[in-house]
């Protein structure tokens, strides 16, 4: 009950400073902006051509770098030679929609009409070859191949000039997978189609870029504003004449400060949840891709803020000055950023040197400077690492619909477990110091 009382009080305080409305308004504008972005799929034929030729392999290979993929083809087949994609027709659903099932019409060129006739009668060998061509797409789950069969007569709607007797036609029935829509090329336009952007990119990549831009700017602004607003909460509570009233209540000082801290977090949690869910829904409605890992950002941003707010709380108790809190928190923020960034550079360098088998004593990533960076990084909260890890998850989710594969995106020693653990330890340390100081102080 006491917790709820303080939570409600914090909420009232947050609402009282009108900034909350401004932030909600800004979030709403961002959501509206995201929601006004439209994506038009390019033609099915063009996309199929791309999918089959391994255009997006750079993405998928990185993402699906798991042990199982050792059994998969490493290099896509060149979709050329005697086989050519002649036509794409919708088998089920609308034409040019990523969610439809398609019939691909592929022709095989023969030296003569007789040989073509032979293949029509006994197509096993051709079917086998063709199947191999599609194994690639299927193994990487770009498409699901339902059926491949030879057509005894040329299908309708093929141009006259293509109806040469030495051509044998095959029909491949495809069904979409999780990844199909994500890798399907789209053309984006802003503001409900008013500003077309004239690019063709896989939908997932565009969503990822859009989400990243909006998120990084949005979370930066949100956190900055929140740092400023919340910096006043605890100093206000500790003002003479106000703190007396609270301390005279039957609640321990530890809980009082702890609840107040959680109250501040709750405030930004609500804020973030509103913005993130809004953006996620806008993206989902517009693109049909519901990247659920995006919702994880609510917790990542809140956690990020929790680290900074712990710093703010400590200084609030020590100085009771909101200005000092803001300055110190922003200072800490910058410091964490700096340490994280430098460490990432060093870390990447080290991974590279290990891969290149550079001799130990020649590695620049193991010198004095690098060691100092690593030690400092080991004990500072991992705000940058959290951002980096969350970005990886987002990318893999937007591209394959599978965020578990994010771990395979690249090789660094940065992990969730250590980042969260060290950051939590830091938060606990800051809060512990703050409580200890608060509990002993005379008011």
């Amino acid at each position: 009950m006491k917790f709820w009382s303080i939570l409600k009080d914090s909420f009232r305080e947050a609402i009282d400073c009108k900034v909350l409305y401004v932030m909600a308004g800004l979030s709403f504008l961002i959501i509206l902006f995201v929601g006004s972005t439209t994506f038009r799929p390019v033609s099915a034929k063009e996309t199929m051509q791309n999918l089959l030729s391994g255009e997006f392999l750079f993405v998928t290979r990185a993402l699906q770098n798991d042990p199982e993929s050792k059994n998969r083809s490493a290099v896509p087949p060149r979709f050329e030679g005697p086989f050519r994609l002649r036509d794409v027709r919708a088998a089920k659903g609308e034409m040019d929609s990523p969610d439809s099932e398609y019939l691909l019409i592929v022709s095989q060129d023969h030296a003569s009409a007789e040989e073509a006739g032979k293949t029509r009668r006994a197509p096993e060998l051709a079917l086998e070859t063709l199947k191999n061509l599609f194994t690639f797409a299927e193994q990487w789950k770009l498409l699901h191949i339902a059926e491949i069969r030879v057509l005894q007569a040329p299908p309708e709607g093929i141009r006259k000039s293509n109806l040469e007797p030495q051509l044998v036609f095959f029909q491949i029935h495809t069904q979409p997978t999780e990844a199909t829509r994500r890798l399907w090329q789209h053309e984006p336009a802003l503001l409900f189609g008013a500003v077309p952007l004239h690019v063709k990119q896989p939908l997932g990549i565009m969503l990822y870029v859009l989400a990243s831009i909006v998120l990084s700017i949005g979370s930066w602004v949100t956190i900055l504003v929140s740092v400023i607003i919340t910096a006043f909460f605890i100093p206000n509570m500790l003002r003479k004449g106000t703190v007396d009233l609270l301390l005279a209540k039957p609640i321990s000082r530890w809980s009082l400060l702890g609840y107040k801290y959680l109250g501040g977090l709750f405030f930004i949690f609500l804020n973030t949840a509103f913005a993130v869910v809004g953006i996620w829904a806008a993206l989902g409605l517009r693109s049909g891709i519901w990247a659920n890992s995006f919702l994880l950002m609510i917790f990542v941003i809140t956690f990020f803020f929790a680290i900074l707010y712990a710093v703010s709380t400590l200084f609030a108790v020590m100085t009771r000055s909101a200005v000092v809190c803001i300055l110190m928190t922003c200072g800490a923020w910058f410091l964490f950023f700096l340490v994280g960034t430098i460490n990432q550079v060093v870390d990447t360098q080290q991974q590279k040197e290990i891969a290149d088998e550079v001799a130990r004593h020649e590695r620049t990533s193991e010198g004095t400077f690098a060691s100092v960076v690593k030690v400092v990084h080991a004990i500072t909260p991992r705000t940058s690492d959290l951002n980096y890890l969350a970005g990886k998850i987002l990318l893999s989710d937007f591209l394959t619909g599978d965020f578990a594969s994010a771990a395979n995106l690249d090789k660094t020693s940065i992990t969730w477990e250590s980042s969260v653990a060290v950051s939590l330890a830091f938060v606990a340390l800051m809060l512990g110091l703050a409580c200890w100081r608060f509990a002993a102080k005379d008011y």
Partner: protein, 329 residues
């Protein structure tokens, strides 16, 4: 079992000694007044009892628990001096908030909040933000929040500070009602007239030391001075009394007689009656609390919390008195 008890309670703020070996007891149902100039340590004492100030020496118990423990505070109401309520609250929401912290059940809070605000005359404005309240309204809200959870002990630190005379009388009435209900009230004040009217017992603090303690009646009793009044038109036999060794001086319509040690007033009465004079008035003279206070407390230099050098200049001293000792210059 005393409600409040301190024994040799001392508190230092770095180099300032705010309390020095203060021992007091407050019984259930009493109104106890703590007097003293600004900076005498009254607030410090209350804050120690409530656990707002820590690290003290000696013994301090509140409701039979060592001072500072959270459980005793559940049964305690507190109106701090210079209180500042979070002004984003309204009176109603503030009581809701504090009620929650005090562990008052939700239903109870809903019921009691308009009731108590009615008592202090804030009901109509209970949903307005506190920042729109006048000083007097804030003070009344302060009293409402101190009484909200029906506490057994109520600490009031300068409750009538900045309240107009009518408001002061209302506050006094509230205190009287609380006393009738068997509550214990601990009142810090430098407004002596007020304390005299309401308190059962008082203590006077000076520079952190308790220099007087006792019943109001006992303290203000002026042993050995009587006021006598005769029926209209009768002459007071001053010279005759002087022969018997009693010194009478005129005080308006009455005569004041100071009695030396070993003497009684009865012979005077016999003498007057013997002469056939009609006695209409006979009381043992009391000194006001203010007289007592001024007599016991070293005068402060104007503008200084702590009494400094003795005031040499009689003129300044008189000035200080006319202002009322302890009041902010």
């Amino acid at each position: 079992m005393p409600v409040i008890e301190t024994r040799d309670l001392s508190k230092n703020y770095r180099r300032i000694q705010a309390l020095k070996d203060v021992s007091l007891r407050v019984e259930k149902g009493e109104i106890y007044g703590l007097l003293g100039q600004n900076g005498a340590g009254k607030t410090t004492l209350v804050k120690i009892l409530l656990g707002i100030t820590r690290n003290w020496q000696g013994e301090a118990r509140l409701l039979d628990v060592t001072a500072g423990r959270a459980e005793a505070r559940r049964r305690v109401g507190y109106l701090p001096e210079d209180h500042r309520f979070p002004d984003y609250h309204s009176a109603a929401s503030l009581l809701e908030f504090y009620g929650g912290l005090l562990g008052v059940p939700r239903v109870e809070r809903r019921r009691r909040s308009p009731e108590i605000l009615e008592t202090v005359g804030l009901r109509e404005r209970m949903h307005y933000k506190i920042r729109t309240y006048s000083k007097g309204m804030k003070q009344r809200l302060g009293i409402a929040q101190a009484l909200f959870h029906d506490p057994e002990v109520i600490f009031l630190d300068e409750p009538t500070d900045g309240v107009d005379p009518i408001g002061r009388r209302e506050i006094r009435h509230i205190m009287e009602r609380l006393k009738e209900a068997g509550k214990t009230i601990f009142l810090n004040s430098h407004l002596l007239g007020e304390v005299e009217k309401i308190c059962d017992r008082v203590a006077i603090l000076q520079k952190g030391v308790m220099i007087q303690e006792g019943d109001i009646a006992t303290l203000t009793e002026h042993k050995g001075t009587f006021l006598i009044g005769l029926a209209a038109g009768q002459m007071f036999p001053v010279e005759e009394l002087a022969k018997h060794g009693y010194q009478a001086t005129r005080r308006d319509d009455l005569w004041e007689i100071a009695i030396a040690d070993g003497q009684e007033i009865d012979p005077v009465v016999d003498l007057l009656r013997g002469k056939g004079l009609g006695i209409r008035h006979l009381v043992e003279k009391r000194q006001s609390l203010e007289d007592l206070f001024l007599a016991t407390v070293a005068p402060a230099e104007p503008g200084v919390d702590r009494p400094g050098k003795r005031l040499r200049d009689d003129r300044i001293q008189r000035e200080a008195r006319s202002r009322g000792i302890g009041e902010k210059p």
